[in-house]
Amino acid sequence: MNDESVYDGLLGGDSSQWAFGTDFEDPLAGVDTTVPAGIDATELAVYCLMLGDDTLVLSQRLSEWCSRAPELEEDIALANFALDLLGQARLLLARAAAADPSIVPPLPEGSPVPAEDALAYFREAGQFRNVRMAEVPNGDFAHVVVRLLLFSIARLAVLQRLRGSADAVLAAVAAKGVKELAYHRDWAGRWFVTLALGTDESRRRLLTALEQLWPLHDELFTAHPIEKSLAAAVDPGEVRAEADAVLDQVLAVAEVERPEPIGTRGRTGRDGLHTEALSLMLAEMQVVARAHPMGLW
C-alpha cells in the first residue's frame, strides 16, 4: 500500500479485477500545484481553510445522521453527501497546508499524521474558519433539508466561479465540487418542496427549520476581507443575486414566503467566532486522534 494517494490502489493496474471496473479519477491529476505568482500564499492558505472548514464541519454534522434518517435510502443519501464534502475538505485542507506550512499544528516528532488531518483534528474551535450555518446542531429531517438547500445553493454559486480561479488546485477542487453540490442542491430542493406541500405537520416542520436557520443565511454571502483581496478567491457577495434567484424559485414552487433578511454584524465564523456547538462537536470528532498523535489510520 502506498499512502501518498488514496487513488494509487485503484488507478492503473488490472481494472478487470473489479466487478464494475474502476475508472476512478484523481481530481488533482496533472494539476500544477505551485502557488501562482502574484498570489499571497498566506492568504491562499487561510482561504482554503475557510472553504475546507465549511465542508469538514458540515460533513461531520451530516455523518451524525448515519443510521438515524427516516428511511434507509435517505440515510445513504446523507452519508454520500457527507463523504462528498469530506473529500472536498481533504483537498482544501491539504492545499492550505501546502501553501502555508506554518498553519499546521505541531505534532510530536515522527508523527505519521498527514497535514490535512493535523488541521482537522488538532485545531481549537477558535481556529476554525467555517460559517456558522455548517456547525449548528442537527434538528429533524426538515432541518437537514433546509440547511443543505441554503448551503448548497450558496456554495454551488461560489464553486461555479471558482472553477476559473488563478490557483489551479482551487479550480480543480471547484470543478469536482460543482458536480457534487449540484446533486446536493437538487436533492434538498426536491425534499424542500415535498415537505412544504406535504402534510400540515411536514410544512410546519419545514417552516420551523427555515426560521431557525435563516439568521445564519446572510453570513453565507458576507465576505471576509481575504475573500475580497485574494485574487484566486471568489467574493461570496458577488454571487448573491444568482443564489437568491435559485432560492426564490424553490420558495415559489414550495409556496413559502422568503423571510425578511436579518443581516450579519461584527465578527463571524470566518474570523473564528463560533457558537458553543462547534467546540462540543470538535471534542467528539477529535478525541481519538488527539489521544493518539502517533497513530497511523
Binding site: 471496473g21 427516516p70 428511511e71 434507509l72 435510502e73 445513504i76 426536491r190
Partner: protein
C-alpha cells in the same frame, strides 16, 4: 410512513455493459425520488451510467408453479444450440 412508499425495482447499465441489469429494489415516494434513491444506493462505487426504475407492482412475473410447462420442454432441444459447429477460437461473445 414506510407502508406508503411503494417498492421499485432498479436496473443499472454499467460503463461496459450494453444492457440494464437488475441490481436490487428500494422504496421511494414517487418515480423521480426512485431514480434519486437508486443513484444514492446503487451507484456509489462508480458502477452506473444509466438507471431504470419501475414499480415492482407493474411487473408481471412467471409463477414458480408453471416452471415445468414453461421451461422443461426446452431442456431436451439440444439442436437449438450451435453445438454442432466448430467455432473458431478467435470469435468472441458466443
Amino acid at each position: 410512513m414506510k407502508r406508503d412508499w411503494p417498492l421499485y425495482e432498479v436496473f443499472i447499465r454499467g460503463k461496459r455493459g450494453l444492457n440494464h441489469v437488475h441490481v436490487g429494489s428500494l422504496h421511494a415516494p414517487d418515480d423521480a425520488f426512485a431514480v434519486a434513491h437508486a443513484r444514492d444506493v446503487y451507484t456509489r462505487r462508480n458502477e452506473g451510467v444509466s438507471i431504470w426504475v419501475v414499480r415492482a407492482d407493474a411487473i408481471t412475473a412467471s409463477s414458480p408453479d408453471e416452471k415445468d410447462p414453461l421451461f422443461a420442454p426446452s431442456g431436451d432441444k439440444v439442436y437449438r444450440h450451435p453445438t454442432f459447429y466448430e467455432i473458431p477460437a478467435d470469435v468472441p461473445h458466443m
